[in-house]
Symmetry: C2
Protein backbone atom coordinates (compact mmCIF):
# COMPACT_ATOMS: atom_id res chain seq x y z
CA UNK A 1 0.00 0.00 0.00
CA UNK A 2 1.37 3.39 -1.02
CA UNK A 3 0.90 6.44 1.17
CA UNK A 4 -0.08 8.47 -1.87
CA UNK A 5 -0.99 8.00 -5.52
CA UNK A 6 -0.70 10.99 -7.84
CA UNK A 7 -2.89 10.79 -10.94
CA UNK A 8 -1.51 12.79 -13.85
CA UNK A 9 1.90 14.23 -14.69
CA UNK A 10 1.14 17.64 -16.17
CA UNK A 11 2.37 20.73 -14.30
CA UNK A 12 0.23 20.00 -11.20
CA UNK A 13 1.09 16.28 -11.02
CA UNK A 14 4.79 16.89 -11.67
CA UNK A 15 4.99 19.57 -8.98
CA UNK A 16 3.17 17.31 -6.50
CA UNK A 17 5.56 14.47 -7.38
CA UNK A 18 8.62 16.66 -6.89
CA UNK A 19 7.46 17.75 -3.45
CA UNK A 20 6.41 14.21 -2.51
CA UNK A 21 9.96 13.09 -3.35
CA UNK A 22 11.44 15.86 -1.26
CA UNK A 23 9.23 14.98 1.70
CA UNK A 24 10.08 11.27 1.52
CA UNK A 25 6.48 10.14 0.94
CA UNK A 26 5.90 6.59 -0.37
CA UNK A 27 4.11 7.57 -3.57
CA UNK A 28 3.58 6.55 -7.17
CA UNK A 29 2.52 8.78 -10.05
CA UNK A 30 0.24 7.26 -12.70
CA UNK A 31 0.04 8.98 -16.08
CA UNK A 32 -0.09 8.24 -19.76
CA UNK A 33 3.02 10.37 -20.26
CA UNK A 34 5.17 12.74 -18.26
CA UNK A 35 4.62 16.36 -19.19
CA UNK A 36 0.94 16.92 -19.87
CA UNK A 37 -0.66 19.41 -22.24
CA UNK A 38 1.91 22.08 -21.34
CA UNK A 39 4.61 20.16 -23.18
CA UNK A 40 2.77 20.33 -26.50
CA UNK A 41 4.10 23.01 -28.76
CA UNK A 42 2.59 24.59 -31.80
CA UNK A 43 4.85 25.71 -34.66
CA UNK A 44 3.95 28.56 -36.97
CA UNK A 45 5.38 29.41 -40.39
CA UNK A 46 8.34 31.78 -40.20
CA UNK A 47 11.53 32.02 -38.20
CA UNK A 48 10.08 33.18 -34.85
CA UNK A 49 11.06 31.18 -31.83
CA UNK A 50 8.57 30.40 -29.12
CA UNK A 51 9.86 32.01 -25.94
CA UNK A 52 6.69 32.94 -24.13
CA UNK A 53 6.12 30.04 -21.77
CA UNK A 54 8.29 30.77 -18.77
CA UNK A 55 7.85 27.65 -16.63
CA UNK A 56 9.44 25.37 -19.21
CA UNK A 57 12.73 24.94 -17.37
CA UNK A 58 11.05 24.34 -14.04
CA UNK A 59 8.75 21.71 -15.52
CA UNK A 60 11.64 20.06 -17.37
CA UNK A 61 13.49 19.76 -14.04
CA UNK A 62 10.45 18.22 -12.38
CA UNK A 63 9.99 15.80 -15.27
CA UNK A 64 13.61 14.70 -15.35
CA UNK A 65 13.57 13.99 -11.64
CA UNK A 66 10.49 11.81 -11.91
CA UNK A 67 11.83 10.01 -15.00
CA UNK A 68 14.94 9.18 -13.03
CA UNK A 69 12.97 7.68 -10.12
CA UNK A 70 11.68 4.70 -12.13
CA UNK A 71 9.85 3.11 -9.22
CA UNK A 72 7.91 6.33 -8.66
CA UNK A 73 5.89 6.43 -11.87
CA UNK A 74 3.79 4.03 -13.83
CA UNK A 75 2.46 4.42 -17.34
CA UNK A 76 -1.30 4.03 -17.34
CA UNK A 77 -4.71 5.61 -17.19
CA UNK A 78 -6.68 5.70 -13.92
CA UNK A 79 -10.19 4.38 -14.54
CA UNK A 80 -11.67 4.50 -11.03
CA UNK A 81 -10.85 5.52 -7.47
CA UNK A 82 -12.87 3.66 -4.84
CA UNK A 83 -12.62 3.83 -1.03
CA UNK A 84 -11.72 0.53 0.67
CA UNK A 85 -11.24 0.22 4.43
CA UNK A 86 -8.79 2.94 5.44
CA UNK A 87 -7.58 3.78 1.97
CA UNK A 88 -8.32 3.92 -1.73
CA UNK A 89 -8.17 1.42 -4.58
CA UNK A 90 -7.20 2.90 -7.92
CA UNK A 91 -7.88 0.82 -11.02
CA UNK A 92 -5.30 1.59 -13.68
CA UNK A 93 -5.36 0.55 -17.30
CA UNK A 94 -1.89 -0.15 -18.65
CA UNK A 95 -0.44 -1.66 -21.81
CA UNK A 96 -0.64 -5.13 -20.26
CA UNK A 97 -4.11 -4.94 -18.80
CA UNK A 98 -5.88 -3.60 -15.74
CA UNK A 99 -4.13 -3.27 -12.36
CA UNK A 100 -5.15 -2.22 -8.86
CA UNK A 101 -3.08 0.20 -6.80
CA UNK A 102 -3.81 0.72 -3.11
CA UNK A 103 -2.98 4.01 -1.44
CA UNK A 104 -3.89 5.90 1.70
CA UNK A 105 -4.50 9.13 -0.18
CA UNK A 106 -4.66 10.56 -3.69
CA UNK A 107 -3.89 13.76 -5.57
CA UNK A 108 -5.99 14.00 -8.74
CA UNK A 109 -4.22 16.14 -11.35
CA UNK A 110 -5.59 14.65 -14.55
CA UNK A 111 -6.23 17.93 -16.33
CA UNK A 112 -8.58 18.46 -19.23
CA UNK A 113 -8.85 17.21 -22.78
CA UNK A 114 -9.28 19.48 -25.76
CA UNK A 115 -12.61 19.44 -27.50
CA UNK A 116 -12.29 19.03 -31.26
CA UNK A 117 -14.55 20.39 -33.99
CA UNK A 118 -14.32 17.12 -35.90
CA UNK A 119 -13.75 18.77 -39.29
CA UNK A 120 -11.34 17.78 -42.08
CA UNK A 121 -7.76 19.00 -41.59
CA UNK A 122 -8.17 19.69 -37.87
CA UNK A 123 -6.09 16.81 -36.54
CA UNK A 124 -3.74 16.88 -39.52
CA UNK A 125 -2.66 20.49 -38.93
CA UNK A 126 -2.79 20.54 -35.13
CA UNK A 127 0.64 21.70 -33.99
CA UNK A 128 1.48 23.07 -37.46
CA UNK A 129 -0.11 26.49 -37.68
CA UNK A 130 -3.24 25.32 -35.91
CA UNK A 131 -3.28 25.41 -32.12
CA UNK A 132 -5.22 25.76 -28.92
CA UNK A 133 -4.84 28.90 -26.72
CA UNK A 134 -3.86 31.86 -28.87
CA UNK A 135 -2.93 33.84 -25.80
CA UNK A 136 0.04 31.56 -25.10
CA UNK A 137 1.51 32.49 -28.46
CA UNK A 138 0.54 36.15 -28.70
CA UNK A 139 4.14 37.46 -28.75
CA UNK A 140 4.86 35.15 -31.66
CA UNK A 141 2.07 36.55 -33.78
CA UNK A 142 3.55 39.98 -34.48
CA UNK A 143 2.25 41.25 -37.82
CA UNK A 144 0.34 38.03 -38.50
CA UNK A 145 -3.21 37.42 -39.65
CA UNK A 146 -4.85 35.23 -37.02
CA UNK A 147 -8.13 33.31 -36.87
CA UNK A 148 -9.57 32.49 -33.43
CA UNK A 149 -12.51 30.14 -32.99
CA UNK A 150 -13.93 29.92 -29.47
CA UNK A 151 -16.98 29.63 -27.29
CA UNK A 152 -16.83 32.25 -24.58
CA UNK A 153 -15.26 35.10 -22.70
CA UNK A 154 -11.87 33.46 -22.61
CA UNK A 155 -11.70 33.52 -26.43
CA UNK A 156 -12.66 37.20 -26.48
CA UNK A 157 -9.86 38.04 -24.02
CA UNK A 158 -7.54 35.93 -26.08
CA UNK A 159 -8.46 37.67 -29.34
CA UNK A 160 -8.01 41.10 -27.75
CA UNK A 161 -4.61 40.20 -26.38
CA UNK A 162 -3.47 38.76 -29.70
CA UNK A 163 -4.74 41.90 -31.47
CA UNK A 164 -2.01 43.90 -29.73
CA UNK A 165 0.56 41.99 -31.78
CA UNK A 166 -1.26 40.63 -34.83
CA UNK A 167 -2.04 42.54 -38.02
CA UNK A 168 -5.58 41.23 -38.03
CA UNK A 169 -7.67 38.91 -35.88
CA UNK A 170 -10.80 37.20 -37.21
CA UNK A 171 -13.04 35.81 -34.48
CA UNK A 172 -15.76 33.16 -34.77
CA UNK A 173 -17.72 32.41 -31.62
CA UNK A 174 -20.06 29.45 -31.21
CA UNK A 175 -22.62 28.82 -28.43
CA UNK A 176 -22.51 32.41 -27.08
CA UNK A 177 -25.94 33.61 -28.24
CA UNK A 178 -26.89 35.34 -24.98
CA UNK A 179 -23.56 37.17 -24.76
CA UNK A 180 -22.92 37.79 -28.46
CA UNK A 181 -23.60 41.56 -28.34
CA UNK A 182 -21.55 41.98 -25.16
CA UNK A 183 -18.63 40.21 -26.81
CA UNK A 184 -19.09 42.15 -30.04
CA UNK A 185 -18.91 45.44 -28.17
CA UNK A 186 -15.82 44.29 -26.31
CA UNK A 187 -14.08 43.26 -29.53
CA UNK A 188 -14.80 46.70 -31.02
CA UNK A 189 -12.16 48.05 -28.62
CA UNK A 190 -9.56 46.78 -31.09
CA UNK A 191 -9.70 48.19 -34.62
CA UNK A 192 -7.99 45.16 -36.19
CA UNK A 193 -10.50 42.57 -34.93
CA UNK A 194 -13.37 41.31 -37.08
CA UNK A 195 -16.13 39.17 -35.66
CA UNK A 196 -17.86 36.76 -38.04
CA UNK A 197 -21.47 35.66 -37.59
CA UNK A 198 -23.71 32.93 -38.94
CA UNK A 199 -20.98 30.64 -40.13
CA UNK A 200 -19.25 27.53 -38.92
CA UNK A 201 -15.90 25.94 -39.66
CA UNK A 202 -16.06 23.30 -42.40
CA UNK A 203 -12.36 22.42 -42.54
CA UNK A 204 -8.74 23.46 -42.70
CA UNK A 205 -6.32 23.33 -45.64
CA UNK A 206 -2.63 24.01 -46.16
CA UNK A 207 0.74 22.60 -47.06
CA UNK A 208 3.41 22.10 -44.37
CA UNK A 209 1.36 24.46 -42.23
CA UNK A 210 -2.31 25.25 -42.01
CA UNK A 211 -3.00 28.10 -44.44
CA UNK A 212 -6.78 28.47 -44.87
CA UNK A 213 -9.99 27.82 -42.97
CA UNK A 214 -13.19 26.96 -44.89
CA UNK A 215 -16.32 28.61 -43.53
CA UNK A 216 -19.82 27.28 -44.20
CA UNK A 217 -22.86 29.60 -44.18
CA UNK A 218 -26.50 28.55 -43.66
CA UNK A 219 -27.24 29.50 -47.28
CA UNK A 220 -24.84 26.76 -48.36
CA UNK A 221 -22.25 29.30 -49.37
CA UNK A 222 -18.61 28.43 -48.61
CA UNK A 223 -15.85 30.95 -48.03
CA UNK A 224 -12.12 30.57 -47.42
CA UNK A 225 -9.99 32.77 -45.19
CA UNK A 226 -6.20 32.74 -45.39
CA UNK A 227 -4.17 33.38 -42.27
CA UNK A 228 -0.80 32.73 -40.64
CA UNK A 229 -2.14 31.13 -37.47
CA UNK A 230 -5.38 29.43 -36.50
CA UNK A 231 -6.72 28.65 -33.05
CA UNK A 232 -9.61 26.40 -32.08
CA UNK A 233 -10.06 27.16 -28.41
CA UNK A 234 -13.26 25.53 -27.28
CA UNK A 235 -13.77 25.09 -23.56
CA UNK A 236 -11.95 21.80 -22.75
CA UNK A 237 -13.49 18.91 -20.79
CA UNK A 238 -12.21 17.80 -17.37
CA UNK A 239 -10.74 14.30 -16.97
CA UNK A 240 -12.67 13.67 -13.77
CA UNK A 241 -14.62 10.52 -14.68
CA UNK A 242 -12.53 8.26 -12.41
CA UNK A 243 -13.63 10.18 -9.31
CA UNK A 244 -17.16 11.14 -10.40
CA UNK A 245 -18.72 8.81 -7.79
CA UNK A 246 -16.23 9.77 -5.08
CA UNK A 247 -15.94 13.58 -4.92
CA UNK A 248 -18.15 16.57 -5.58
CA UNK A 249 -18.01 17.88 -9.14
CA UNK A 250 -19.46 21.16 -10.36
CA UNK A 251 -22.09 21.32 -13.13
CA UNK A 252 -19.41 21.20 -15.82
CA UNK A 253 -17.72 18.15 -14.31
CA UNK A 254 -14.77 19.96 -12.67
CA UNK A 255 -13.65 18.82 -9.20
CA UNK A 256 -14.72 21.19 -6.41
CA UNK A 257 -11.81 22.03 -4.10
CA UNK A 258 -11.27 24.36 -1.14
CA UNK A 259 -8.37 26.77 -0.58
CA UNK A 260 -6.19 23.86 0.56
CA UNK A 261 -7.02 21.81 -2.56
CA UNK A 262 -9.06 19.31 -0.55
CA UNK A 263 -12.01 17.66 -2.29
CA UNK A 264 -15.22 16.57 -0.59
CA UNK A 265 -13.71 13.10 0.08
CA UNK A 266 -11.24 12.78 3.00
CA UNK A 267 -7.75 11.92 1.77
CA UNK A 268 -8.52 12.92 -1.81
CA UNK A 269 -6.97 16.15 -3.09
CA UNK A 270 -7.04 17.74 -6.53
CA UNK A 271 -5.04 20.36 -8.41
CA UNK A 272 -4.68 21.94 -11.81
CA UNK A 273 -7.11 22.26 -14.67
CA UNK A 274 -9.32 19.33 -13.53
CA UNK A 275 -10.46 21.51 -10.61
CA UNK A 276 -13.16 24.16 -10.64
CA UNK A 277 -10.46 26.71 -9.81
CA UNK A 278 -8.18 25.84 -12.73
CA UNK A 279 -6.81 28.82 -14.60
CA UNK A 280 -5.28 27.01 -17.60
CA UNK A 281 -1.89 28.35 -16.58
CA UNK A 282 1.09 26.11 -15.90
CA UNK A 283 2.33 28.16 -12.98
CA UNK A 284 -1.07 28.13 -11.31
CA UNK A 285 -1.18 24.35 -11.73
CA UNK A 286 2.31 24.06 -10.25
CA UNK A 287 1.35 26.15 -7.22
CA UNK A 288 -1.84 24.19 -6.65
CA UNK A 289 0.01 20.88 -7.12
CA UNK A 290 2.33 21.92 -4.29
CA UNK A 291 -0.68 22.92 -2.14
CA UNK A 292 -2.41 19.58 -2.77
CA UNK A 293 0.77 17.71 -1.86
CA UNK A 294 1.28 19.66 1.37
CA UNK A 295 -2.37 19.06 2.29
CA UNK A 296 -1.97 15.33 1.54
CA UNK A 297 1.16 15.31 3.71
CA UNK A 298 -0.77 16.91 6.61
CA UNK A 299 -3.53 14.35 6.12
CA UNK A 300 -1.07 11.44 6.20
CA UNK A 301 0.91 12.76 9.16
CA UNK A 302 -1.76 14.32 11.30
CA UNK A 303 -5.05 12.99 9.98
CA UNK A 304 -6.10 16.50 8.97
Amino acid sequence: MYDLVILGAGPAGLAASAYATRKGIEFVTVAESLGGKGSERVAFPGPAEHRVVRPEQLLADFRRELEYLVERHRRGLARSVVPRERGLVITVETDDGSHEIEARSAVVATGTRLRRLGVPGELEYFGRGLGYSAVSYSHLLHGCDVVVHGDGRRSVDSALEVSRYARSVTVLLERVEGSRELYRNKLREASNVTMLDDCSIAGFDGDDFCRTVRLAYPSGELREIEADAFFVELQPEPNSEMVADLVELNEDGYIVVDLWNRTSAPGVFAAGDVTAAGFEQSLVAVGDGVKALISAYSHLNWGL
Copy 2:
Protein backbone atom coordinates in the same frame (compact mmCIF):
# COMPACT_ATOMS: atom_id res chain seq x y z
CA MET B 1 -4.44 56.76 -12.65
CA TYR B 2 -2.97 53.29 -13.03
CA ASP B 3 -5.19 50.32 -13.85
CA LEU B 4 -3.42 48.26 -11.21
CA VAL B 5 -1.02 48.68 -8.34
CA ILE B 6 0.87 45.61 -7.09
CA LEU B 7 2.06 45.85 -3.49
CA GLY B 8 5.11 43.69 -2.82
CA ALA B 9 7.74 42.05 -5.02
CA GLY B 10 8.29 38.66 -3.46
CA PRO B 11 7.34 35.54 -5.47
CA ALA B 12 3.62 36.48 -5.60
CA GLY B 13 4.19 40.13 -6.50
CA LEU B 14 6.87 39.31 -9.07
CA ALA B 15 4.68 36.70 -10.77
CA ALA B 16 1.74 39.12 -10.83
CA SER B 17 4.01 41.81 -12.30
CA ALA B 18 5.31 39.46 -15.01
CA TYR B 19 1.79 38.52 -16.08
CA ALA B 20 0.62 42.14 -15.90
CA THR B 21 3.45 43.04 -18.27
CA ARG B 22 2.50 40.26 -20.63
CA LYS B 23 -1.13 41.35 -20.63
CA GLY B 24 -0.27 44.99 -21.29
CA ILE B 25 -1.89 46.32 -18.11
CA GLU B 26 -1.00 49.86 -16.96
CA PHE B 27 0.46 48.88 -13.60
CA VAL B 28 3.11 49.83 -11.06
CA THR B 29 4.67 47.58 -8.43
CA VAL B 30 5.52 49.14 -5.07
CA ALA B 31 8.02 47.34 -2.85
CA GLU B 32 10.95 48.00 -0.58
CA SER B 33 13.07 45.70 -2.72
CA LEU B 34 12.62 43.26 -5.59
CA GLY B 35 12.85 39.64 -4.47
CA GLY B 36 11.20 39.26 -1.11
CA LYS B 37 12.02 36.77 1.65
CA GLY B 38 12.70 34.01 -0.88
CA SER B 39 15.87 35.73 -2.01
CA GLU B 40 17.46 35.59 1.46
CA ARG B 41 19.93 32.77 1.80
CA VAL B 42 21.40 31.16 4.87
CA ALA B 43 24.97 29.85 4.78
CA PHE B 44 26.13 26.98 6.94
CA PRO B 45 29.67 25.94 7.85
CA GLY B 46 31.20 23.44 5.41
CA PRO B 47 31.42 23.14 1.65
CA ALA B 48 27.81 22.13 0.89
CA GLU B 49 26.03 24.15 -1.77
CA HIS B 50 22.44 25.14 -1.39
CA ARG B 51 20.52 23.47 -4.23
CA VAL B 52 17.12 22.82 -2.74
CA VAL B 53 15.13 25.87 -3.78
CA ARG B 54 13.89 25.10 -7.28
CA PRO B 55 12.08 28.30 -8.26
CA GLU B 56 15.23 30.42 -8.06
CA GLN B 57 15.73 30.70 -11.81
CA LEU B 58 12.08 31.47 -12.48
CA LEU B 59 12.04 34.19 -9.82
CA ALA B 60 15.32 35.62 -11.10
CA ASP B 61 13.77 35.91 -14.58
CA PHE B 62 10.71 37.66 -13.18
CA ARG B 63 12.89 40.01 -11.15
CA ARG B 64 15.16 40.91 -14.05
CA GLU B 65 12.20 41.72 -16.23
CA LEU B 66 10.71 44.06 -13.65
CA GLU B 67 14.08 45.70 -12.96
CA TYR B 68 14.39 46.42 -16.65
CA LEU B 69 10.97 48.09 -16.82
CA VAL B 70 11.99 51.08 -14.69
CA GLU B 71 8.65 52.87 -14.97
CA ARG B 72 6.87 49.77 -13.66
CA HIS B 73 8.25 49.69 -10.13
CA ARG B 74 8.71 52.16 -7.33
CA ARG B 75 10.71 51.74 -4.17
CA GLY B 76 8.51 52.33 -1.16
CA LEU B 77 6.28 50.95 1.53
CA ALA B 78 2.49 51.05 1.18
CA ARG B 79 0.98 52.55 4.32
CA SER B 80 -2.72 52.61 3.43
CA VAL B 81 -5.15 51.64 0.69
CA VAL B 82 -8.36 53.69 0.69
CA PRO B 83 -11.27 53.61 -1.77
CA ARG B 84 -11.93 56.89 -3.58
CA GLU B 85 -14.65 57.31 -6.20
CA ARG B 86 -14.20 54.48 -8.70
CA GLY B 87 -10.71 53.46 -7.60
CA LEU B 88 -8.19 53.25 -4.80
CA VAL B 89 -5.68 55.66 -3.29
CA ILE B 90 -2.50 54.05 -2.05
CA THR B 91 -0.29 56.07 0.28
CA VAL B 92 3.33 55.09 -0.19
CA GLU B 93 6.26 56.04 1.99
CA THR B 94 9.44 56.51 -0.02
CA ASP B 95 12.92 57.86 0.64
CA ASP B 96 11.76 61.37 -0.22
CA GLY B 97 8.51 61.39 1.71
CA SER B 98 4.93 60.25 1.35
CA HIS B 99 3.22 59.92 -2.06
CA GLU B 100 -0.23 59.01 -3.29
CA ILE B 101 -0.80 56.56 -6.11
CA GLU B 102 -4.22 56.18 -7.71
CA ALA B 103 -5.25 52.87 -9.26
CA ARG B 104 -8.42 51.15 -10.35
CA SER B 105 -7.44 47.89 -8.65
CA ALA B 106 -4.79 46.37 -6.40
CA VAL B 107 -3.00 43.08 -5.81
CA VAL B 108 -1.71 42.87 -2.23
CA ALA B 109 1.31 40.58 -2.03
CA THR B 110 3.14 42.05 0.91
CA GLY B 111 4.02 38.75 2.58
CA THR B 112 4.95 38.29 6.20
CA ARG B 113 7.72 39.44 8.49
CA LEU B 114 9.74 37.11 10.66
CA ARG B 115 9.16 37.29 14.38
CA ARG B 116 12.41 37.56 16.32
CA LEU B 117 13.18 36.26 19.80
CA GLY B 118 15.04 39.46 20.67
CA VAL B 119 18.02 37.70 22.27
CA PRO B 120 21.74 38.46 21.95
CA GLY B 121 23.42 37.03 18.83
CA GLU B 122 20.14 36.50 16.96
CA LEU B 123 20.47 39.28 14.41
CA GLU B 124 24.26 39.00 14.31
CA TYR B 125 24.21 35.35 13.18
CA PHE B 126 21.07 35.43 11.04
CA GLY B 127 22.14 34.10 7.64
CA ARG B 128 25.34 32.59 9.07
CA GLY B 129 24.39 29.23 10.57
CA LEU B 130 21.17 30.65 12.01
CA GLY B 131 18.10 30.66 9.80
CA TYR B 132 14.38 30.54 9.44
CA SER B 133 12.66 27.46 7.92
CA ALA B 134 14.78 24.35 8.49
CA VAL B 135 12.74 22.42 5.96
CA SER B 136 14.09 24.57 3.10
CA TYR B 137 17.61 23.46 3.94
CA SER B 138 17.04 19.84 4.95
CA HIS B 139 19.14 18.36 2.11
CA LEU B 140 22.04 20.52 3.23
CA LEU B 141 22.00 19.20 6.76
CA HIS B 142 23.22 15.69 6.07
CA GLY B 143 25.06 14.38 9.14
CA CYS B 144 24.67 17.67 11.01
CA ASP B 145 23.52 18.45 14.52
CA VAL B 146 20.56 20.80 14.21
CA VAL B 147 18.59 22.90 16.72
CA VAL B 148 15.02 23.92 15.80
CA HIS B 149 13.07 26.44 17.85
CA GLY B 150 9.42 26.85 16.90
CA ASP B 151 5.87 27.36 18.03
CA GLY B 152 3.62 24.81 16.39
CA ARG B 153 2.90 21.95 14.07
CA ARG B 154 4.92 23.41 11.24
CA SER B 155 8.08 23.24 13.39
CA VAL B 156 7.34 19.61 14.28
CA ASP B 157 6.97 18.67 10.59
CA SER B 158 10.12 20.60 9.89
CA ALA B 159 12.10 18.80 12.63
CA LEU B 160 10.89 15.40 11.40
CA GLU B 161 11.86 16.15 7.83
CA VAL B 162 15.28 17.44 8.86
CA SER B 163 15.76 14.31 11.00
CA ARG B 164 15.87 12.22 7.81
CA TYR B 165 19.17 13.93 6.92
CA ALA B 166 20.61 15.29 10.15
CA ARG B 167 22.59 13.33 12.74
CA SER B 168 20.56 14.83 15.56
CA VAL B 169 17.74 17.33 15.90
CA THR B 170 17.06 19.16 19.16
CA VAL B 171 13.62 20.76 19.30
CA LEU B 172 12.39 23.54 21.60
CA LEU B 173 8.75 24.52 21.28
CA GLU B 174 7.20 27.61 22.84
CA ARG B 175 3.49 28.46 23.21
CA VAL B 176 2.26 24.94 22.43
CA GLU B 177 1.07 23.90 25.89
CA GLY B 178 -2.19 22.30 24.76
CA SER B 179 -0.51 20.29 22.03
CA ARG B 180 2.81 19.52 23.71
CA GLU B 181 2.10 15.81 24.30
CA LEU B 182 0.73 15.35 20.77
CA TYR B 183 3.88 16.91 19.36
CA ARG B 184 6.10 14.93 21.70
CA ASN B 185 4.52 11.66 20.53
CA LYS B 186 4.93 12.69 16.91
CA LEU B 187 8.60 13.54 17.40
CA ARG B 188 9.20 10.09 18.96
CA GLU B 189 8.74 8.68 15.43
CA ALA B 190 12.33 9.72 14.77
CA SER B 191 15.01 8.23 17.03
CA ASN B 192 17.44 11.11 16.50
CA VAL B 193 15.09 13.86 17.70
CA THR B 194 15.20 15.21 21.26
CA MET B 195 12.54 17.57 22.59
CA LEU B 196 13.57 19.98 25.33
CA ASP B 197 11.13 21.30 27.91
CA ASP B 198 11.05 24.10 30.44
CA CYS B 199 13.74 26.21 28.89
CA SER B 200 13.98 29.25 26.71
CA ILE B 201 16.64 30.64 24.43
CA ALA B 202 18.90 33.20 26.11
CA GLY B 203 21.24 33.86 23.21
CA PHE B 204 23.47 32.61 20.40
CA ASP B 205 27.27 32.52 20.22
CA GLY B 206 29.83 31.60 17.59
CA ASP B 207 32.64 32.81 15.37
CA ASP B 208 32.10 33.25 11.60
CA PHE B 209 29.03 31.08 12.04
CA CYS B 210 26.63 30.50 14.89
CA ARG B 211 28.00 27.60 16.95
CA THR B 212 26.09 27.43 20.26
CA VAL B 213 22.72 28.32 21.69
CA ARG B 214 22.40 29.31 25.38
CA LEU B 215 19.35 27.90 27.15
CA ALA B 216 17.91 29.40 30.32
CA TYR B 217 15.96 27.26 32.80
CA PRO B 218 13.44 28.53 35.37
CA SER B 219 15.86 27.55 38.15
CA GLY B 220 18.29 30.12 36.80
CA GLU B 221 20.51 27.38 35.39
CA LEU B 222 22.11 28.07 32.00
CA ARG B 223 23.13 25.40 29.48
CA GLU B 224 24.87 25.58 26.12
CA ILE B 225 24.21 23.33 23.14
CA GLU B 226 26.62 23.13 20.22
CA ALA B 227 25.26 22.46 16.74
CA ASP B 228 26.00 22.97 13.05
CA ALA B 229 22.75 24.73 12.21
CA PHE B 230 20.15 26.65 14.19
CA PHE B 231 16.63 27.60 13.17
CA VAL B 232 14.25 30.05 14.86
CA GLU B 233 11.00 29.42 13.06
CA LEU B 234 8.29 31.26 14.93
CA GLN B 235 5.00 31.82 13.11
CA PRO B 236 5.60 35.00 11.10
CA GLU B 237 3.28 38.04 11.09
CA PRO B 238 1.33 39.18 8.02
CA ASN B 239 2.06 42.60 6.50
CA SER B 240 -1.62 43.42 6.12
CA GLU B 241 -1.86 46.65 8.14
CA MET B 242 -2.32 48.84 5.04
CA VAL B 243 -5.58 47.08 4.15
CA ALA B 244 -6.83 46.29 7.66
CA ASP B 245 -9.73 48.78 7.30
CA LEU B 246 -10.50 47.76 3.72
CA VAL B 247 -10.66 43.94 3.50
CA GLU B 248 -11.61 41.06 5.76
CA LEU B 249 -8.72 39.66 7.79
CA ASN B 250 -8.78 36.42 9.78
CA GLU B 251 -8.12 36.34 13.53
CA ASP B 252 -4.36 36.22 12.98
CA GLY B 253 -4.41 39.21 10.62
CA TYR B 254 -4.08 37.30 7.33
CA ILE B 255 -6.14 38.47 4.34
CA VAL B 256 -9.15 36.24 3.61
CA VAL B 257 -9.34 35.30 -0.09
CA ASP B 258 -11.51 33.04 -2.22
CA LEU B 259 -10.37 30.49 -4.81
CA TRP B 260 -9.85 33.32 -7.31
CA ASN B 261 -7.73 35.32 -4.86
CA ARG B 262 -10.42 37.96 -4.48
CA THR B 263 -10.65 39.74 -1.12
CA SER B 264 -13.87 41.04 0.42
CA ALA B 265 -13.32 44.44 -1.28
CA PRO B 266 -14.18 44.70 -5.01
CA GLY B 267 -11.10 45.33 -7.12
CA VAL B 268 -8.72 44.29 -4.35
CA PHE B 269 -6.95 40.93 -4.74
CA ALA B 270 -4.32 39.25 -2.58
CA ALA B 271 -1.77 36.48 -3.01
CA GLY B 272 1.09 34.78 -1.23
CA ASP B 273 1.94 34.53 2.44
CA VAL B 274 -0.12 37.59 3.45
CA THR B 275 -3.28 35.57 2.68
CA ALA B 276 -4.98 33.06 4.96
CA ALA B 277 -4.19 30.39 2.36
CA GLY B 278 -0.45 31.07 2.26
CA PHE B 279 1.71 27.96 2.33
CA GLU B 280 5.12 29.62 2.84
CA GLN B 281 6.25 28.11 -0.47
CA SER B 282 7.58 30.22 -3.32
CA LEU B 283 5.86 28.16 -6.01
CA VAL B 284 2.50 28.43 -4.26
CA ALA B 285 2.97 32.19 -4.01
CA VAL B 286 3.88 32.34 -7.72
CA GLY B 287 0.75 30.38 -8.69
CA ASP B 288 -1.49 32.53 -6.52
CA GLY B 289 0.17 35.70 -7.82
CA VAL B 290 -0.80 34.63 -11.34
CA LYS B 291 -4.36 33.87 -10.18
CA ALA B 292 -4.69 37.27 -8.50
CA LEU B 293 -3.43 38.99 -11.65
CA ILE B 294 -5.84 37.11 -13.92
CA SER B 295 -8.70 37.93 -11.55
CA ALA B 296 -7.66 41.60 -11.53
CA TYR B 297 -7.56 41.52 -15.34
CA SER B 298 -11.11 40.11 -15.45
CA HIS B 299 -12.21 42.80 -13.02
CA LEU B 300 -10.66 45.57 -15.13
CA ASN B 301 -11.94 44.22 -18.45
CA TRP B 302 -15.32 42.86 -17.52
CA GLY B 303 -16.15 44.35 -14.12
CA LEU B 304 -16.14 40.88 -12.57
